[in-house]
């Protein structure tokens, strides 16, 4: 049966959407699951990056303040930039593109599903490595952004 848009509407008979939250924590090759994984993970890093930004602004509210010491301040804005770019915007774009592009051009999945899953699962270790640099004796990278 054609719907108002003129396309044939999906019937929900055999092709049921699998609504099980556990699949979002599994190694799935479904582009929709990977898309959601990307988006949720990058949103968590967005919150972390936002917290760092608020510490930076707390430091800058007065000309001389000692909210954090200077090496830590340098590390804060370096990681703020790196997290916001490489762990928020780029993964989020990857996630929304993953979710929408196959749906928008009418294909069943992306060309190389396994490769897609592998490129997602490289990101959480990367984020943990970045954030764990706060624990190192020399502190984080301080090169600035």
């Amino acid at each position: 049966m054609d719907n108002i848009i003129g396309y044939r509407e999906s019937s929900t008979s055999q092709n049921e959407p699998e609504n099980n939250w556990r699949r979002y924590f599994s190694f799935s090759t479904d582009h929709k699951v990977i898309g959601v994984q990307y988006m949720v993970m990058s949103f968590i890093f967005f919150l972390v990056g936002g917290l760092l930004a608020m510490v930076i602004r707390a430091k800058l509210i007065t000309p001389q303040s000692n909210v954090v010491d200077r090496p830590l301040y340098n590390g804060l804005f370096t990681l703020h930039g790196t997290i916001m770019i490489f762990l928020w915007i780029i993964p989020f774009n990857a996630g929304i593109s993953n979710y929408l592009v196959p749906l928008m051009i009418g294909v069943r999945d992306i060309a190389f599903p396994l490769l897609n899953a592998i490129s997602f699962w490289m990101i959480p270790p990367r984020g943990i490595l970045l954030l764990s640099s706060f624990l190192l004796p020399n502190g984080t990278a301080q090169s600035g952004w």
Partner: protein, 378 residues
């Protein structure tokens, strides 16, 4: 790897009838961004490997005291990192181009030119990287060349901005949350874009180099444009992705808090940078304090503004959200033809595409009625 995946999918796997000029603008912009990624990322990878050797294995690619050249590192770095800005921005442009026509019930103005402008931005942005290095002893012939190319990027970008404006021109706007975010983001992109063109000119750039003006400018791009576009996308495709509607009131509260506090945070950085406050410093002259206090308070408000999003929209719709219908916005596009929460294989049968994208309100095709917006509110 992701880039290869997207490019292959878009080039070879489209549904029957989905010609290149029937693809949504979002797909065009993803294609351009991923092609750009494919061309430019290797130079950053190479630079980082060389840097690793320099720092850990005693090599001297970039060490000035040992006949290395740090400028080469800058070149390699910016050859990726400038296009990276466009890799991030292009999907945001695509999102605006999807949402604006859906809520103004107008066809997307100049679909073909918007689609080609995505590719245009991608191509031109490969040739602009030296504009980050105007103060790194760049010879003057190079400066002139890169002023020209940098200003040239404004042409396809301007095509996009005019396209969005003409799309919503003289139409009755339906200010649902995604539309608010899209219009807010597109409007603030104007300020980010205009300050960007100012920075493309060498005399101005040398004056404000390394000041808070730069910080203000790129936050207008990365927060006020790209993050607003990301929230647009979240709200617009929320019914499709989660199968639930979000509460509209919390969404509007989230938008106004974000919009006001983002401007409070990032606008003061522009004047304070013009007055000469250097970036990346932890203490500063007392006369800059006024603007900084505004920016800091705005920043804290921005932190608060995420709370309605998490509390009201995510948790609220999870617990109390109504089930979403397949096409709540009555939008065109294949993703709205499948069920909300798409099935495992996306479509029961692969659709055949017979119409151009975003054809809202054409008399010839006017098969899609606008939704009953009062009903959506509840």
């Amino acid at each position: 790897m992701g880039a290869v995946n997207f490019v292959t999918t878009i080039f070879w796997m489209r549904a029957p009838g989905m010609t290149f000029f029937r693809m949504p603008v979002f797909v065009w912009s993803v294609l351009s961004a991923q092609l750009l990624q494919l061309v430019n990322l290797p130079s950053l990878t190479g630079a980082l490997i060389l840097l690793l050797f320099d720092l850990n294995f005693g090599m001297q690619f970039f060490k000035p005291l040992e006949n290395g050249d740090p400028i080469i590192y800058q070149h390699l770095f910016w050859f990726y990192s400038h296009p990276a800005v466009y890799i991030m921005t292009l999907p945001a442009f695509g999102i605006f181009a999807e949402v604006l026509p859906a809520f103004s019930r107008n066809p997307l103005f100049g679909y073909r030119s918007l689609a080609v402008a995505s590719l245009g931005i991608a191509v031109v942005s490969i040739f602009v990287w030296v504009h980050h290095m105007f103060t790194s002893a760049t010879p003057s012939w190079m400066r002139i060349l890169f002023i020209v190319t940098s200003i040239l990027v404004a042409v396809p970008t301007g095509v996009k901005a005019f396209g969005w404006t003409a799309t919503i021109w003289k139409s009755k706007l339906h200010l649902e949350t995604p539309m608010l975010f899209a219009m807010g983001g597109a409007a603030m992109f104007l300020l980010g874009g205009v300050t960007g063109v100012m920075l493309a000119a060498v005399p101005f750039d040398i004056h404000v180099h390394n000041t808070h003006f730069i910080v203000g400018y790129f936050h207008y791009i990365v927060f006020n444009t790209i993050t607003m576009a990301i929230f647009t996308a979240i709200y617009f495709w929320f019914p499709k992705i989660t199968g639930r509607m979000y509460p509209e009131g919390w969404g509007k509260l989230h938008f106004w808090l974000t919009f006001i506090s983002a401007n409070l945070t990032f606008f003061p950085m522009l004047p304070v940078g013009l007055q000469g406050m250097v970036r990346r410093i932890s203490s500063y002259d007392r006369r800059y304090q006024g603007w900084n206090v505004i920016a800091s308070l705005g920043g804290f408000l921005l932190g608060v503004s995420i709370l309605p999003f998490i509390g009201g929209n995510m948790v609220g719709s999870w617990l109390y959200g109504t089930r979403a219908v397949n096409n709540p916005w009555h939008a065109t596009g294949l993703e709205w033809t499948t069920t909300s929460l798409p099935p495992q294989d996306n479509f029961d049968e692969i659709p055949v595409v017979k119409r151009p994208p975003c054809d809202y309100g054409y008399p010839k095709y006017s098969v899609i009625e606008p939704p009953d917006y009062h009903q959506l509110e509840h």
